[in-house]
Symmetry: none
Amino acid sequence: MEKEWRRSMPLLSMNIVMQLTGLTARQIRYYEEQELVHPARTEGKQRMFSLDDIDILLEIKDLLKTGVNIAGIKQIFEMKNSPITSKEVRQVISDRELRAIVKEEMHLAQRQQRASLRQGDLSRFFR
Amino acid sequence: MEKEWRRSMPLLSMNIVMQLTGLTARQIRYYEEQELVHPARTEGKQRMFSLDDIDILLEIKDLLKTGVNIAGIKQIFEMKNSPITSKEVRQVISDRELRAIVKEEMHLAQRQQRASLRQGDLSRFFR
DNA sequence: AAATAGTTGTTAGTTTTCCTAACATGATGT
DNA sequence: ACATCATGTTAGGAAAACTAACAACTATTT
């Protein structure tokens, strides 16, 4: 019975998400506008959030609190979704794309360093 | 973070509960009127359901489908809340009622095994 | 057959919640 | 000082949920 709960099922409405995360509606909508989170919509276009969305929002909240800005969070999320470590991946990605990614990764590294110097340890967000 | 998720937390709004249970709003409100389920309310008086509430509603739906009426369901729920010995039961419940209830309880046992499979596909409600 | 009771549908009118879009504001970085 | 970022605030409108009443269908009783 518990197993059928998919963390990705959009079950939660705005009000509840605000309570669960402590964020304002404005903040949540802004993070969606910045493409950090992608809640589902009802037929009437109202947002419906999943537990996964809650996790993402809490992570955003945490990262913002430690001084990372939206752009930085975007990079961090991209890293989590596509770790480019393996050779196979390199074969699939074009040279131009690869150069862009590497360049971004270096910028990201700088940002991380700055952030951690100022604010604290970010290592727990990486695996 | 995962621990904050309580089955008794009222997180779900009407629309979602309708989808999860396959019941109409009218039915759900009627069952509340009959005191079979007791959803929480927002400040604006809107119903908020917990996972436990969902279970109850699914059980109501099942019992109704097998021919038990609201009064019978009420009795069954009372039995579950305060398990009493068979002698006492006979004093309170007529023979006919008892037979019906026992029959349904056996069905219930089967049903609870099936329960995890019963949820419908919600994906069509979202894009 | 008619009446009754139980369960759900339907409708109307209202309230609550959520939406988008725009402009305002305080903080931060250049 | 000025620009950018993140959020607040407001206005107007749309969606979702509410209550209450009445209708309808079913099954049971008289």
